[in-house]
């Protein structure tokens, strides 16, 4: 019930992000969502793509340091309080959210939130227990 996020290490210098996107385009990989975390010296680009394996190969081929991370993609109603309810489910179980980012799905009614949580199985059960819909890797690719 989890999805694969492709994370890329990027030095803070001009043109590097463009190189990532070109490498993915050439490999026919479609980016679904992304988030960039940064320090003064470097950043970590986190990508949800339709074809994680191809994406990793393409980026490795282009000389990037890439890692795959298990994340949880959750569909939630796109309205006030939507995220609060989901976060509550996790914190009630004492689960720590390393980071999250969200994007609005194509249908426009629901938003999709990507969670990175250390204890994945516990998080999945907490969310499912609360009736939250967790997207499978296939579902995520099909968005």
């Amino acid at each position: 019930m989890t999805a694969i996020q492709v994370s890329v290490f990027l030095e803070n210098k001009s043109g590097r992000l463009a190189e990532v996107t070109h490498a993915l385009a050439e490999a026919g990989v479609n980016i679904r969502a992304l988030s960039l975390a940064e320090t003064i010296d470097y950043g970590v680009l986190r990508l949800i793509v339709d074809k994680p394996l191809e994406a990793k190969q393409a980026l490795n081929g282009a000389g990037f340091t890439v890692t795959e991370t298990e994340v949880i993609a959750v569909e939630m109603p796109d309205r006030p309080g939507g995220l609060a309810g989901i976060v509550d489910l996790l914190t009630q179980r004492g689960l720590n959210i390393e980071y999250l980012y969200a994007f609005v799905g194509q249908r426009g009614e629901n938003a999709i939130v990507i969670f990175r949580i250390d204890n994945v199985s516990e998080a999945v059960s907490a969310l499912q227990g609360g009736g939250v819909h967790i997207l499978s890797a296939d579902e995520l690719s099909a968005i």
Binding site: F9, G63, T65
Partner: protein, 440 residues
């Protein structure tokens, strides 16, 4: 005019050149005999070179002798080059070496006395005298800087304040409250003292500080100007290395035109580091020293790996001791950062301990205007060390930083970089980028 030149030992520092040469020749014959008789390692080395002590009749024969290198010190670690039994060794110092092993040096009573003499000359050349307050901010310990300057100042009869290094605010307070007239430390630390003092609102031009003796790391004429305008005192360069004695091998006089070599004790040569041939007078090359009077650790033609040249012209101060230009380079890639010897291999070891594979890294050394030497360790992030969580990456660089600091005793900055971004030439990674502009 020369009668007014401040000095410690007028007889030896102003000795007629032919007399000095005769003295050096006598002493050279003695030291060759000494090592041949007392140090089996040297006997073997001389036998291998086909030289007997009686072949050496004076300094003109010195090129017949084999060189001594750091490698010889490693092979004889820790005490096998000592020419006296431990009963006669009154002091041992050590500095860090390439393979984690120390370079160990020993002193007899007379060696300590010689050291005090050459350091007294060094300090007196800058006008230090009885009644001066000498703030000695060189580190005390295995490093020769602290005790070397200490004994020299005491020999003169000056009042020594053994502050040792660090705690800059306290250094500034002592400088101000005690009214130190002489300062001994590394040149980059002198700038730090100046800066911190300025921040604290100290007016250096109103302080009695007159002169500073700065060594243990390379520095430049520009830096001298910066120190002098910051501290309102003369900034003099001093040179030494523990293998030869520590500080006190060479010193600047107030002419500030190169360093006089205490050549009645340490015979200098300049060689081509590749061929080993002596270069023409005044040409650049690797500095080589033969100790002429050392008892515990006499060394023949020791290759310092420091690049400099001898200045053949006489000095305006009247001393006949020949001068060498300040040292600005090394024959190998060893770095001296804030007085600490840094070998790239040490950094590599630290990184390997963390990553368990040979990491790619580059050391970038820089010196900001009016600043201390800074070293940045750029480490390539591998798939093994990469995490999508920023906090883990931060932890990684902090760990690298703290392990390097505990290994080298030196704080560096760490920057994580992408793989294959580090410069490589001829298939071999270029490990060191030294951006310090030491100039002349």
């Amino acid at each position: 005019m020369h009668e007014s030149t401040p000095c410690w030992n007028r007889e030896l520092e102003f000795m007629a050149p032919d007399q000095l040469r005769a003295l050096q020749s006598d002493r050279l014959c003695e030291v060759v005999k000494l090592v041949y008789e007392k140090v089996p390692y040297y006997r073997q080395k001389l036998d291998d070179a086909g030289v007997k002590p009686q072949d050496i009749k004076g300094v003109d024969d010195i090129t017949r002798l084999p060189f001594t290198t750091k490698e010889d010190l490693r092979k004889t670690y820790p005490f096998d080059l000592f020419a006296v039994p431990m009963e006669q060794v009154v002091r041992i110092h050590a500095s860090s070496g390439t393979t984690g092993k120390f370079t160990v040096v020993g002193y007899t009573d007379r060696d300590v006395d010689t050291w005090a003499e050459v350091m007294a000359r060094t300090l007196a050349a800058g006008g230090t005298h009885r009644g001066d307050l000498v703030q000695n901010s060189y580190g005390y310990g295995l490093f020769t800087g602290g005790l070397g300057a200490h004994y020299g100042a005491e020999r003169i009869g000056a009042s020594v304040i053994p502050t040792s290094g660090g705690q800059t605010k306290r250094q500034v307070q002592i400088l101000q409250d005690f009214g130190s007239t002489v300062l001994c430390c590394t040149p980059s630390y002198a700038l730090v003292i100046g800066e911190v003092g300025e921040e604290l609102g100290v007016s250096f031009k109103d302080l009695p500080l007159r002169v500073g003796f700065f060594g243990a790391e390379p520095w430049s004429a520009t830096m001298r100007q910066e120190i002098e305008s910051s501290l309102h005192a003369h900034a003099l360069d001093i040179y030494g290395l523990s293998e030869i004695i520590g500080p006190g091998v060479g010193f600047e006089c107030l002419e500030k035109a190169g360093l006089h070599i205490n050549e009645d004790h340490f015979y200098p040569e300049v060689i081509d580091p590749v061929t080993g041939e002596t270069v023409a007078d005044g040409e650049m090359g690797e500095l080589v020293f033969t100790t002429l009077t050392k008892e515990a650790l006499p060394l023949l033609r020791y290759r310092t790996r420091d690049i400099t040249r001898v200045i053949p012209e006489p000095c305006g101060c009247g001393r006949t001791l020949r001068r060498m230009r300040r040292v600005t380079g090394r024959t190998d890639d060893m770095l001296i950062i804030r007085g600490v010897n840094v070998f790239p291999s040490q950094i590599e070891e630290v990184l390997m301990g963390i990553e368990e594979t040979t990491p790619n890294y580059v050391l970038v050394v820089d010196r900001k205007p009016r600043g201390m030497d800074e070293m940045e360790v750029q480490v390539e992030v591998s798939e093994k060390t990469f995490s999508d969580e920023m906090s883990r990456l931060e932890t990684l660089s902090e760990r690298i930083q703290s392990e390097i600091e505990s290994t080298l005793g030196l704080r560096v900055s760490v920057r994580l970089v992408e793989p294959k971004t580090l410069e490589r030439s001829m298939g071999k990674a270029r490990r060191v980028i030294d951006r310090r502009d030491l100039g002349e």
